[in-house]
């Protein structure tokens, strides 16, 4: 099953800014290249893009949580 993993270490965010809705929720469809979150690394926000198409079945990374390179962010079906 396709997965979305973090490209970098840092802090994971599910929304573009505090108070805004998440980029994607469980059950949402994603296409290749769709942004599903941000990783804040060295004061820079890097977009996390899906490299597969499908429907999000689970998020494994919490909003505002530390994340390591290669850590699982979301699963697709």
């Amino acid at each position: 099953m396709p997965e979305i993993r973090s490209p970098l270490p840092g802090t994971f965010y599910r929304a573009p800014a505090p108070g805004q809705p998440p980029f994607r929720e469980v059950g949402d469809a994603v296409a290749i290249g769709d942004v599903v979150g941000l990783v804040e690394v060295m004061k820079t926000f890097v977009e996390v893009k899906s490299e597969a198409a499908g429907t999000i079945t689970a998020f494994h990374a919490g909003n505002g949580a530390p994340i390591g390179p290669g850590d699982l962010i979301a699963e697709l079906a």
Partner: protein, 457 residues
Amino acid sequence: MKGPAGRTLFIANRGEIAVRINRAGKALGMTVVQGHSAADADSLAVRMADRAVLLGPPPAAQSYLNIPAVVAAAKASGADAVHPGYGFLSENAGFAAAVEAAGMIFVGPRPETIAMMGDKAAALAAARDAGVPTVPGSGGRVDPNDAAAVAAGIGYPVMIKAAAGGGGRGIRVARDAAELARLAPQAAAEAEAAFGDGGLYLERMIEHARHVEVQVLGDGVRAIHLGERECSLQRRRQKVWEEAPAPGLSPATRARIGAVSVALAERVGYRGAGTLEYLYDAGADAFHFIEMNTRIQVEHPVTEAVTGVDLVQAMIRIAFGGPLPDPAPARGWAIEVRINAEDPARGFLPSPGTITGLHVPPDVRFDTMLYPGYTVPPWYDSLVGKLIVQGDDRAQALARLRAALDGLRVEGVRTTIPLHRALVRDPDVVAGAVDTRFLEAWLAAGPNLEPYLEPPA
């Protein structure tokens, strides 16, 4: 007041500047206590310190930016003085006041000075009062019916800005009265829609501006300047390369920019090390004050190289009531390039990671917190080192920089070394013919910035 020797200095910062402050404190005979986050327990600054105190978890908001935690840690460590470095809490008037309220010395200006110079309108007013040129403008909201007369007085081209705006949004440029008449109503309508306030003000657009800044030291009454720096090579408003002195300034302009900087520093009773930033219009040989930074700057080493003054030691001495230095005239030329853990070939993507190899060529200054085996954490700024060279003149400094960059190796993470290897060979950079927009345009042209590009024979 007795001097710093035998006293305790608390460093409320991290990275290369913490290492730099540690060395200055030790050279002055001080005991050094390093405040650090959980992510920096194995940092070089912690290893070099006499003692280290945990401030909090890795995120800066919970450690290096947590005023109660930093003040409590410093006080509990028995510190006599707190050095804030740059960034983090260095220009936070509330932090400076809290340090003083806890009975410690803040190595920097008085809290009121930090607050005033941090307020853009107050800083510009202080500058005008001291006779420092600022960017010509309407000095506030302009009545649409008076705009043409005001613009004629400022001189074209003018920027039309929303009084309620910020961040460059909605700025229009008018090159003559006809354009102003056409664009001002558009700008007012857009400002009304965006901010609920259609108020406008006008400011002269300085085309091809260079960034020139002046280093000052003050003792709270008197001030001196230590010459200027050129910092026009910037990406996203971040400096990447700095020089002292600034290329092409006439002796008269150099004397005048230094004199007005001292006048402003003395007018505000400046204490410690500070920098006045100017836009320099080379075509008109005119400079305009934009802001003052009330802290030590990243690029201070180039001034140290040409003046022989250790600025970090000087600001600590001043904080303990010591006198201003009395330097000999500046001589020679110095260049600093910032080495960031970013990949210039991939849009400057941050590149944290473990340092597997480090080779620094001899006879250059390399201010860094790196050591082999150190892991650059993802939590903080990407600056990992500053390479500083000097020569008798600019040509010699450039030649030494070119050689030093060819010898510098930072392995394990991507760095901006390839950017600087390319810049040091660029004809416009070599000629000193750059303005603040040069680097962005240069990067947009897609230069080859792959790592460890071997230089052409």
